[in-house]
């Protein structure tokens, strides 16, 4: 099993996300993380899916995704073929603030992005392993809440969805 990033370029069509996720559901494959947003190209959405599967499964999944009528193109990459990041937010009670926490914040280069009467919110961006490490450290500080995004990714190999669309016959 390998960890893969699938990049899917789609039309902005209601239900497209469901059409893609049921491909995984039907095969009993868990999606580790998923993010969807607009892409660089007007009207084209980009869905980033992180999944841990076998090489045969990833081939099969990506072909099934490309078969969806409103999918323009789908690609898959190994971790070393993409640059990726995940953002994490940590909610910590004011009462837990002490010098040792300051050390952690400095060490991780995390940011306090909100301060309320009862709590502060820390923001830290990195790979899952990094945000997870910070999470483990913060747990003893009575961490109130934690939230981590799916990965956003840029592929290292060159490909162009625009070119693909231009070549349409």
């Amino acid at each position: 099993m390998n960890r893969y990033t699938i990049l899917v370029y789609t039309e902005n069509f209601i239900g497209i996300l469901n059409r893609i996720t049921i491909i995984f559901t039907r095969r009993g494959i868990n999606i580790n993380a998923l993010t969807a947003s607009e892409s660089r190209l007007d009207g084209i959405h980009k869905i980033t899916i992180e999944v841990t599967v076998t090489p045969e499964q990833i081939e099969h999944l990506v072909k099934q995704i490309e078969k969806v009528v409103d999918v323009i193109k789908a690609y898959y990459f190994m971790d070393d073929e993409v640059v990726y990041q995940e953002i994490a937010l940590y909610k910590i009670p004011i009462a837990s603030l002490d010098p040792s926490l300051e050390k952690v914040i400095r060490q991780f280069n995390a940011h306090i992005i909100a301060a309320e009467k009862e709590f502060v919110v820390l923001e830290f961006t990195g790979h899952k392993e990094d945000t997870q490490a910070l999470l483990e450290i913060l747990k003893p500080f009575d961490l109130l809440e934690f939230s981590r995004s799916g990965r956003v990714a840029i592929a290292k190999p060159r490909f162009s969805v625009q070119e693909f669309l231009n070549n349409q016959t």
Binding site: E11, D70, Q168
Partner: protein, 560 residues
Amino acid sequence: MVRGADIVVKSLIAENSEYIFGYPGGAIMPVYDALYDYSDKIKHVLTRHEQGAIHAAQGYARVSGKVGVVLATSGPGATNLITGLADAQIDSTPLVCITGQVAAHLLGSDAFQETDVVGLSMPGTKWNIQVRRVEDIAPAIAKAFHIAKTGRPGPVLVDITKNAQIEFGEFNYVPCLNVRSYRPYQPINQDAVTAAAALIDTAERPYVLYGQGVVLAHAENELKAFLDKTGIPAACTLLGSGALPESHPNYVGKLGMHGNYAPNLLTNKCDVLIAVGMRFDDRVTGDLQRYAKQAKVIHLELDPSEIDKNVKCTVPILGDCKKSLSLLTEAVSQKSHETWLERFRELEGQEKEAVVSNDLHGTHGGLHMGEVIHLVNKFKEEDAILVTDVGQHQMIAWRYFDFKTTRTQVTSGGLGTMGFALPAALGAQLNDYKKQVICVVGDGGIQMTIQELGTIMQTKAPVKVVLLNNNYLGMVRQWQQLFFDKRYSFTELDNPDFIKIAEAYSFKARKVTEREDLEAAVAEMLVQEGPYFLEVVVEKEDNVFPMIATGCSVEEVRLS
């Protein structure tokens, strides 16, 4: 300005749809109201259940090659289509289904007969859409037709809210010719053709497997030309039957669980396997770990997701097989494979002796299903269409029916939908009243959609129904006998008087229990002008052989 409902009907007419198979209800009533004014331009067939409507549309689409059109209301009307959608999806049948939906402002409110049809039908459609505004109706229908019929065909669903049907808009139909995210046809890679030709030219025991892809691509002549030139033996899948006349010298039989002996057995003896428009279904391959491992595989296939899905191939040739077959025929050398073909013929002899003669020429005991099909062959017209349901009768009819021309078989292959045959036969018959449509069905399956006898009565479609009655869910019983210690758990049926039912629906009907009456009855049925219902009481505990049991290899095909 016209109503949205008129736009629906005008769009269907613009797509040259001949028939709508449907059933009215609240959320689709504006379209039904509009239909009232267009009965001279498009015919509506009122089935007795929405499942009947969609299976009829499938039958129509399969024999005509055109898009089958279905109309149903929201909620239960739409959910009753689901089986047919799944069936059409797995068997690549082009359909456009239009469902009514509650008014847009009621969506998500659990309104009367509201259900999430787009969500429910998503896994069973090639594409679907909900239309909430009148101006979106015609473009959605145009796109639906384009997607349904191009590339690998499939079912498409357009869900139209009631407000969009009632609102007024302009009608200006622009057929859809291109969807930018959708590439139905892949360009053929000439290098792959060259590589495949080299493999074929040096092969000692090449073997062609063809499926419904040949029919869908209208590539029957190209297949024949390829086989004529190369002399390669060819076997068909269930849905590929008819793509090549069975009298063709290279035709060696049928593949799969209940196919012929030689075609299955010798799959593991060929050195180059050429798969054309087929998808290596598990019913064809048996245990994949022991399937054609010795062979180099060439796969001619339209759908990229089928390549390497079940069987890893050496040379994939993506694209329309009508084109790829002709390119391949040009690239290969003229050859013959008489010795190799002879091996098929020898094994065919063994199958004849062990299975076929008894199946077709019973002398004592109960009637065999095969005897009925054998007599049907004797009296049927050359281009008669066989429509079957699912189970023992389906396999027997497929095995013994004499397929002479293309698009002469309609059956539920991938999904195995009991209840498919009767409505599908109606649809097949409506495409051409003059063609002989023979609907072979079991006593289990017919009772799943028996109400469609009413639609046959109303349309006066001259369907010939052949009910092979063994008072069992025969195929399940066969499995119980072979694999579950003869524990016949809930497979025996107390059946009604089918003749009375058929007569109540104005069919001319006849029941045969004795061997000596069978021939005259079949003959009578096939000269009858109108619909005819022939019930044949057959042996209760007959089995279908050859058989490849689940989990077994094609090599383990058994004759008894």
